[in-house]
Amino acid sequence: MLDDLYRELILDHYRSPRGAAPLERTDRRAEGQNPLCGDECTVSLRLDGEKVLQVGFRGRGCSISVASGSMMAGEIEGLSLAEVRRLEASVKSMLQGKGRDPSLDLGDLEALEGVARFPVRVKCALLPWTTLLEALSRKDPAGERARVTTEQAGPGPGGAAGGGGGGI
């Protein structure tokens, strides 16, 4: 069971995250926070019109959130913004255990499939993606910062992970 979560590929991304090098120039940028644990990440993008040229990801969080961001950085480089959005929707659906678009190749991201079985950790894996969406939605000039939380994106309350807190 735990092996579903800590797959070798996830650990590998955690130990040596992609996208960690600072970008020379940033067209979009957002910071995100997982309100349940307080962990944070930053997503920066270099765009060429409608295409993602380069991705910067820095996470201060658990292995799942860092690996998810690292995989994201690896997979979305070179994609069009529309493709990025489709990928995001598919990853989110997979993480929430609702299945995913079979026509899309998720690459390394497939390794995150097992997270769905750990409701408490789903928001960890979503954090970079919510932050990415926020960065994209910004029409602001380069370098403008936005702050989001995974609040809007997590599984609804009432699941086994329901409730807030963060330890007693």
């Binding site: 309100p35 309350p157 009432g158 329901g162 409730g163 807030g164 807190g165 963060g166 007693i168």
Partner: protein, 437 residues
């Protein structure tokens, strides 16, 4: 003859088919405390309106929680914390289903019905009641659905108006309509009286209150025991009840919310679990419904409540209702046969199932309860936390027998026999006729 009045209409208007009768003797065996005890008379427990007994499945659910799942809930990353969280949130889902709420996130766990009403009075009332606003309650409310409104009205400068009770123990609907007005903010009414047994027309009253722009709180403490709670069908905003009166444990209650109520109810108590971010300067709140649950909840009791809900659902509301009506009819008839007894509330047993409050000449309720106890019959004597209703009927106390799913015809007979014996002891000589029981 209108077209609708043919056999077709008759069929449509026919009452629903009788549910299979509740086998109370078999149910009794589910309740360890009701088992025969050597050396003592069998326990005839007729105080279920105060608190019901607990079936084995409820007691065992609590034990299983402490023996296999115990941990603190929320965010725990170990197996027990997950099990405890699951138990707690499954109980919430069961409570939502049971109460007709839109979903688990429309259910708040409290300690009891009293705390649920206080939550609304304090949190909702503190935000939505101002000087000159009006709250309507009734003359038959339990103190727990009256005093919180007196207090919040006093502190907010609002006005509490009271629906009177008629001679036969029903709410005066005409008077209620006259009380409704543009300043009415909330109607607080019980679904069923704990003294008279009267089942109130809460759906109709709620509709009238809502069209006057008011919110509606239903005290369902006495309706829950027969699984007769339905926030949606009632059109209520807040529904409050207690686990311990419906086969569940003490220490757990429910406040079910409508969507509207859920979105404008501020926090109640403050502390762990109900917050999101806390700094030394201030805090932000967690999502509903956790926002109204400060501190470590009573998870074992919530799990026990779920077992109780499942127990009641298995029997079903129609069978529970029919059983209580039957015992009530039998009891009222036999008491009337004794003579010299005044029974409060509606005369039709089906309008007041399960509860018989009365006053007997020459035997004070407290004496009666004490004498009955010696015969193994447990009833309650007193004002039943409804002093205004006592005053309305010109008494300070009544004797109350209340019947539940584990009571049999024999229990009713034993009760009436014991009543008769008490009267013979305190006021001997022929009074009314003896029943051949």
């Amino acid at each position: 003859m209108t077209p609708a009045a043919g056999p077709e209409a008759a069929r449509r208007a026919a009452p629903p088919p009788e549910p299979p009768p509740l086998d109370a003797a078999r149910r009794k065996a589910d309740f360890p405390i009701l088992a025969p005890r050597p050396g003592l008379p069998p326990l005839v427990y007729l105080d279920s309106a105060a608190t019901t007994q607990k079936p084995r499945s409820v007691i065992q659910r609590i034990v299983r929680f402490y023996e296999e799942e115990n941990a603190n809930v929320h965010r725990g990353l170990h197996r027990l914390a997950e099990a405890a969280t699951r138990a707690y949130e499954e109980a919430r889902a069961a409570a939502a289903r049971f109460s007709g709420a839109a979903g688990p996130d429309h259910v708040v766990f409290t300690r009891n019905a009293t705390e649920a009403v206080n939550l609304v009075a304090r949190a909702w009332g503190g935000m939505h009641l101002g000087p000159g606003d009006e709250v309507i309650a009734t003359e038959m409310e339990h103190h727990s659905n009256l005093v919180p409104w007196q207090e919040v009205c006093r502190s907010r400068g609002a006005i509490l108006r009271i629906v009177p009770v008629t001679e036969d123990g029903r709410l005066d609907r005409e008077a209620f309509r006259r009380l409704l007005g543009p300043r009415t903010r909330l109607l607080a009414v019980s679904a069923k009286s704990n003294v008279l047994g009267t089942v109130n027309p809460v759906a109709e009253m709620a509709a009238e209150a809502r069209s006057a722009g008011a919110r509606v709180l239903v005290d369902a403490a006495q309706a829950a025991p027969t699984a007769a709670v339905d926030l949606r069908a009632w059109g209520a905003d807040f529904v409050a009840f207690s686990g311990h009166k419906m086969c569940g444990p003490m220490g757990i209650g429910v406040l079910a919310l409508s969507g509207d109520a859920r979105s404008d109810l501020p926090p109640f108590l403050f502390g762990g679990e109900m917050v999101r971010r806390v700094t030394l300067e201030g805090a932000t709140w967690n999502d509903p419904p956790w926002l109204w649950e400060a501190g470590t909840p009573s998870v074992a009791d919530a799990a026990g409540l779920q077992a109780a809900i499942e127990y009641l659902e298995e029997i079903g509301a129609p069978a529970l209702h029919a059983h209580e009506v039957r015992l009530t009819a039998r009891c009222m008839e036999m008491l009337a046969g004794l003579g010299g007894i005044r029974i409060f509330g509606p005369r039709d047993p089906s309008a007041r199932p399960g509860i018989v409050s009365f006053w007997m000449e020459d035997v004070h309720p407290h004496d009666l309860a004490q004498l009955l106890d010696a015969d193994g019959v447990a009833i309650r004597a007193g004002h039943h936390c409804a002093q205004p209703l006592m005053a309305r009927h010109g008494v300070v106390a009544t004797a109350r027998a209340s019947f539940y799913l584990y009571n049999t015809d024999e229990d009713v007979d034993a009760f009436v026999r014991a009543v008769l014996r008490s009267r013979e002891m305190l006021a001997p000589g022929p009074k009314g006729k003896h029943l051949g029981i």
